[in-house]
Subunit: 194 residues, 2 copies
DNA sequence: ACCTGAACACCGTTCAAGT
DNA sequence: ACCTGAACACCGTTCAAGT
């Protein structure tokens, strides 16, 4: 599936064509259908291959649950941003083994941190929502590179009608990494036991 | 654009075809291109029409910032879930006037609540991320109705390998509305001033 | 067991032309 | 100003057939 990932990285979701993929593999188009049921299947395999998690490099686990959670979540986001087509695909497909492993890790970490069993699922889904929302949004800015200039100009002309977000420069702020980390901190504050 | 929204509701993003849209309008396909630049333009118009916000019905504003924020955000989510194709489209397109209005409202509310100017953008994007992640995920479950049975079975067979999320029944819990509200509460806790 | 070409039923959009 | 049909360059996938 490395060939599919390469194609997706280069041309985006719409650029992955069964014909183009076959070309990259040096085979006929219909050969693909021996190995794969249909095009969606290709997406599923490519998506899962991108979501593997190896865990923190140092054996710092068990001592700082918060650092551990942040590490997994930031690595998850980074993995998806390395392949900007992946984020918008993930919530639309069945969950593969690699993303389930990440959720398992997260669940263990939060449990160990003292999050009540009754709050555990809500906590996990909240973090899922935060990461997915942030990454889907960020990734789409990567994809529409050429439109940026036009969008920028459209915004400043429109923003007279939206004085508050204009004043805080909401749409011009592009410290995405910092905003992600800081907002994640706020969310973990809210989720922390006691 | 009501015709486009209807088609999208009925057949999803892939079901909206220029040919089908023209049929619904009782015109030739190419007539559409007089009113619209291309297909993406149709999506933009349909998307914005779905995101209008009328504000809270009672004049309870200014007294309870938290209720006001929750009202807008839950209404935003509900509007997108009424049109399940809309959520995954929103982060991929340029921001239209209606969603900008919602962000303006949110910004005013949080500002009035005492959120520091330095934290304002992070707070808004955090809420954006949470709502978008939750809704994109939830909406896709609506779309893949038929696959549910198969997915369910696949999950229980797989879940032996993921004991923690199996034990909390993470993937079987389907109180989506409750989880959204509760998680939003946690996030607002974390974002609250002081 | 694995690969293939031809064919089918579609797409979005250009273009030249109509009223 | 608005609408149209024909044509172009694509799609994913079925099927019957090859090795």
């Amino acid at each position: 599936m490395a060939a599919a990932v390469e194609l997706l990285d280069a041309h985006g979701v719409d650029g992955l064509t069964m014909r183009r993929l076959a070309d990259g593999l040096g085979s006929g188009v219909m050969s693909l259908y021996w190995h794969v049921d249909n095009k969606e299947n290709v997406f599923d395999l490519a998506l899962d291959s991108v979501l593997e998690y190896r865990g923190p490099q140092t054996a710092q686990q068990a001592q700082d649950w918060r650092a551990e959670a942040v590490h997994m979540l930031e690595d998850w986001r980074a993995s998806m941003l390395r392949h900007p087509w992946s984020a918008s695909l993930l919530p639309r497909r069945a969950l593969g083994p690699n993303i389930l492993s990440r959720l398992e890790v997260l669940s263990k970490t939060l449990s160990r941190a003292g999050v009540a069993d009754a709050d555990l699922n809500v906590a996990i889904w909240s973090l899922w929502n935060y990461v997915m929302g942030a990454t889907v949004t960020r990734a789409s800015f990567d994809l529409s590179d050429e439109d940026r200039a036009a969008a920028q100009q459209r915004l400043t002309s429109l923003s007279e009608r939206y004085p508050t977000i204009e004043r805080s420069r909401l749409l011009l702020d592009n410290d995405w990494d910092g905003a992600f980390r800081q907002g994640l901190g706020f969310l973990l504050d809210g989720l922390s036991p006691r």
